[in-house]
């Protein structure tokens, strides 16, 4: 009889669903669409965040976009220079890059009225660092002293509840002791893993995730409506020393297709998006003019090589250099990407302090003749075949095929392509040694520091615990990194990081192909819209036009 009850249930569900739409059919569409005209609210594009909106458990861009509106961190970043600027912090100081003293400003409260204190930060960080809570930001706290007590590893119980390195001095002051000096620590602190949490969070983390209580310029206006929208409204008690929101409210309208969002933008059903579909690239400029934002973004796109598992093919730096020189970056970025990507010429993104224009020299210059020479001198590759893997879900097919065609033409090799459903599948296949070809890969920074373009992708620790998917190891690179970490001043550190970058340029463990440009657009209804290097919208500053 199970079938019968199921049928009834379906019929009932149908009836209810149809009835619901029938009722609302007459009442003309409301807020989410009327948007801009009604009292200073707008709608913007968003993808469905992955899980509960808890800052310590959010490592993806969509959730982070909302958190950026609802929370305020210790620092934020200058939109031009990307240098960290104090925000909730009054000062962040250290004499030895190991012990940091953080003082807070007055006036910040959570949306429920609770004051933001040193404890709000320390509790939040302790929560994030504790493996029992399995928060996605767990690795971010590993630099703080005592982190291994809270995250001792699988099947072990944490031996402490609080990080040894965190000390509340008073309501407005706390100190952070790192396990080793790290000169770039301050730049990390704008990342959402380091946002504060109110005590209300600890009573019911799950409910909090549906309707977070932050300390930012916007507060939640009702709970997250899954797969539909997230509404926020201006937080009236936001300190005037910071940027108070100008709009009365913002609706994050949830899309899972950028083409659709773009058509809604064209019809002014939403007012802004910071992600444009490939199909829009060639026409967006003529359609949106000044309201199309085109500026560098933090991402770098590479071709990666499984150096450790397939040294026969990709082990020689000369081969990798030949491949690099056989790629016409200029033509690919112009035709395939309609100029929305720029040829890469350094391992470091142009946005961050320490980037050097043209650092890669002739390795990044298109020179088919020299490339072929180098390739032949190094005896080519086994079977004269290069395999290029990519994830099919991210619009990479075209540029990978373009690269393949160029390698075929310029190096005279056979090129085969291997699509994977998701990037994760490439990692699985590389890990299981089921795939040993070259692969596409991209990196976008967690925090604007030159270090973030080096260690997480190319260091020895990143093989197990990061994004060194190729298994590249170079001791000289390792030494330079640790020297740079311990540098007394930022400038000194920067120089050493650049030397580490030079090692990469010699070895070319990956080939940087392009850097991303942010592509955002907004409609005539709003002004002052902009995006930052982390891809966040500056919603607090946006006004109706």
């Amino acid at each position: 009889m199970r079938g019968a009850t199921q049928t009834k249930w379906i019929v009932a569900a149908t009836a209810i669903a149809l009835a619901a739409t029938a009722c609302s059919a007459s009442s003309k569409s409301s807020d989410s669409k009327a948007g801009a005209s009604a009292g200073g609210t707008i709608a913007v594009e968003l993808g469905e965040p992955q899980h509960g909106l808890v800052p310590q458990n959010t490592a993806e861009s969509e959730g982070s976009e909302v958190l950026n509106a609802v929370f305020a961190g210790l620092v934020d970043y200058d939109r031009k220079t990307n240098a960290p600027k104090l925000r909730v912090a009054e000062s962040i100081e250290s004499t030895d890059s190991k012990v940091w003293t953080i003082k807070l400003k007055d006036g910040y409260t959570f949306h429920n009225g609770e004051k933001v204190t040193a404890k709000s930060f320390v509790d939040a960080w302790n929560y994030g660092a504790n493996q029992d809570n399995a928060q996605e930001s767990l690795p971010f706290f590993s630099k703080i002293e005592g982190s291994e007590e809270l995250a001792p590893g699988k099947d072990k119980k944490p031996s402490a509840k609080e990080l040894k390195g965190l000390k509340v001095v008073d309501d407005k002051t706390f100190t952070v002791t790192l396990s080793a000096p790290f000169s770039q620590f301050k730049t990390m602190l704008g990342y959402n893993a380091f946002y504060p949490l109110p005590t209300a969070f600890f009573n019911d983390p799950k409910a909090f995730g549906e309707k977070p209580i932050g300390n930012g310029p916007f507060e939640m206006d009702g709970a997250w409506e899954h797969n539909k929208q997230i509404k926020v409204k201006r937080f009236e008690n936001f300190p005037s020393s910071d940027t108070k929101a100008k709009l009365a409210g913002v609706t994050f309208k949830i899309y899972d297709n950028l083409d659709t969002a773009y058509n809604d933008l064209r019809a002014d059903n939403i007012q802004a998006t910071d992600k444009l579909p490939i199909s829009a690239m060639s026409t967006v400029k003529s359609e949106f003019g000044d309201r199309y934002i085109y500026k560098p973004e933090s991402g770098v796109g590479y071709i990666g090589f499984p150096i450790a598992t397939n040294p026969e093919t990709y082990g020689k730096p000369e081969i990798r250099k030949a491949i690099s020189m056989a790629i016409d970056r200029e033509a690919i970025t112009k035709t395939i990407f309609s100029g929305t990507r720029v040829p890469a010429d350094d391992f470091v993104n142009p946005l961050v302090n320490g980037y050097r224009k043209g650092a890669m020299g002739d390795a990044a210059k298109y020179d088919p003749v020299k490339a072929k020479e180098l390739f032949t001198q190094a005896n080519g590759v086994p079977n004269n075949t290069i395999e290029l893997g990519y994830n099919a879900d991210g619009g990479h097919k075209e540029w990978i095929e373009a690269v393949g065609n160029q390698l075929k033409k310029n190096l005279g090799v056979e090129v085969t392509f291997k699509p994977f459903e998701k990037f994760g599948k490439i990692l699985d296949a590389l890990g299981d040694k089921q795939y040993s070809g070259a692969f596409r890969m991209a990196w976008s920074m967690d925090y604007p520091s030159i270090e973030n373009y080096l260690r997480p992708i190319f260091s020895k620790v990143a093989i197990e615990n990061g994004s060194n998917y190729g298994g590249y190891v170079n001791e000289q690179f390792e030494t330079l990194l640790s020297q740079a970490d311990q540098a007394k001043t930022e400038e000194e550190g920067l120089k050493l990081y650049q030397q580490a970058d030079d090692v990469l340029i010699q070895d070319l463990p990956y080939i940087p192909v392009y850097t991303y440009m942010s592509s955002a657009a907004y409609t005539k209804k709003i002004k002052n819209f902009d995006t930052d290097a982390q891809g966040h919208m500056n919603l607090a500053e946006v006004e109706l036009a």
């Binding site: 993806e60 659709t260 459903e421």
Partner: protein
């Protein structure tokens, strides 16, 4: 008849159990790590990965996992996704949109398809017949993605911006009621529409040649009555079969249409869960689809007896 229905419903129980076990096993033995699939392009911290796998019991033996799952199901709990959402919530959010979309598409497909097929059959080789043929070719050779976006751009954006007519919403809002479903339903129905029209055409032409139809015409009955009462009724059997089998497809397979019009229905959710290897979500939804297929085929089988009194169930 009543006994037949009861027998069919009893059969549903082992089928459902078998289906959940089968799907659960398929997902379980699919290679790939669901935790990494969620994490995008950065590798999940190894400790974090272990912690999440432990939290969701991903390392338990298959039968243990299945047992935990199925005993939850009997208590009305379809489990939790790896992103911490209850599967029942996810399904009950997505299902109403899917049902409405599928029903509207189904009506378009049945009404327009059968009408077009009848016209084409009656005027074989004439304009309408050719039109049905050409539309069929177009629908097959131009991807839904293209027709969907072209219609969205023309009727959603251009009509609003250039003529001020804001009738067809670009993306789906349930507040817009029925009209929010029209365009997506038409796009979704288009391929099936071609099948139904051509099936009707052929089927009707066949039955019109049958003896009883010839007899009816010879007896001097009106053409319209013969077609409506006798020929079409018998010709409907393959069409009803197709439509019945298609209803489930309209629900579970509307991935692209849902995507184009930003409807967060079952199709998209199912596809996403397969990509992410989210076992509990997939099993929950596929089981629901099995139920839908069981019910529609039962209804279709009962309809046979109505359309052709010679077919009987006891």
């Amino acid at each position: 008849m009543g006994r037949y229905v009861i027998r069919r419903l009893i059969q549903a129980i082992p089928v459902l159990l078998g289906a959940t076990l089968l799907i659960y096993a398929l997902v379980h033995y699919l290679p790939g790590d669901p935790v990494q699939a969620l994490a995008g392009e950065k590798r999940v911290d190894p400790l974090l990965r272990e912690l999440i796998r432990e939290k969701y019991h991903l390392d338990d033996p298959f039968l243990v996992q299945y047992w935990n799952y199925i005993s939850g199901v009997f208590q009305g709990d379809l489990g939790e996704s790896l992103t911490g959402r209850a599967v029942t919530d996810m399904i009950s959010e997505a299902f109403p949109y899917t049902v409405n979309l599928a029903l509207v598409a189904f009506i378009i497909e049945a009404v327009v398809g059968v009408l077009a097929g009848v016209m084409a059959a009656l005027r074989r080789g004439k304009f309408l017949d050719q039109l049905v043929l050409i539309s069929t070719l177009l629908v097959i050779s131009i991807p839904v993605f293209v027709t969907g976006f072209a219609l969205q751009l023309l009727l959603g954006v251009k009509l609003k911006n250039d003529y001020g007519i804001d009738f067809f919403p670009v993306s789906f809002h349930e507040e817009d009621g029925l009209r929010a479903y029209l365009l997506p339903a038409f796009v979704l129905a288009s391929t099936s529409l071609a099948y139904v029209a051509r099936l009707t055409r052929t089927s009707l032409m066949e039955t019109m040649r049958a003896d009883y139809v010839r007899t009816a015409v010879a007896k001097g009955l009106k053409r319209r009555r013969v077609i409506g009462r006798h020929a079409l009724r018998n010709a409907l059997i393959p069409i009803v079969t197709f439509l019945g089998a298609d209803l489930g497809g309209l629900m579970g397979g509307a991935v692209i249409t849902e995507k184009i019009f930003n409807m967060h229905g079952i199709g998209g959710l199912l596809a996403q869960s397969v990509y992410q290897k989210q076992g509990t979500v997939i099993v929950g939804m596929v089981t629901l689809l099995v139920v839908i297929y069981l019910v529609t085929t039962l209804l279709v089988d009962l309809l046979y007896a109505v359309l052709d009194p010679r077919i009987r169930y006891e």
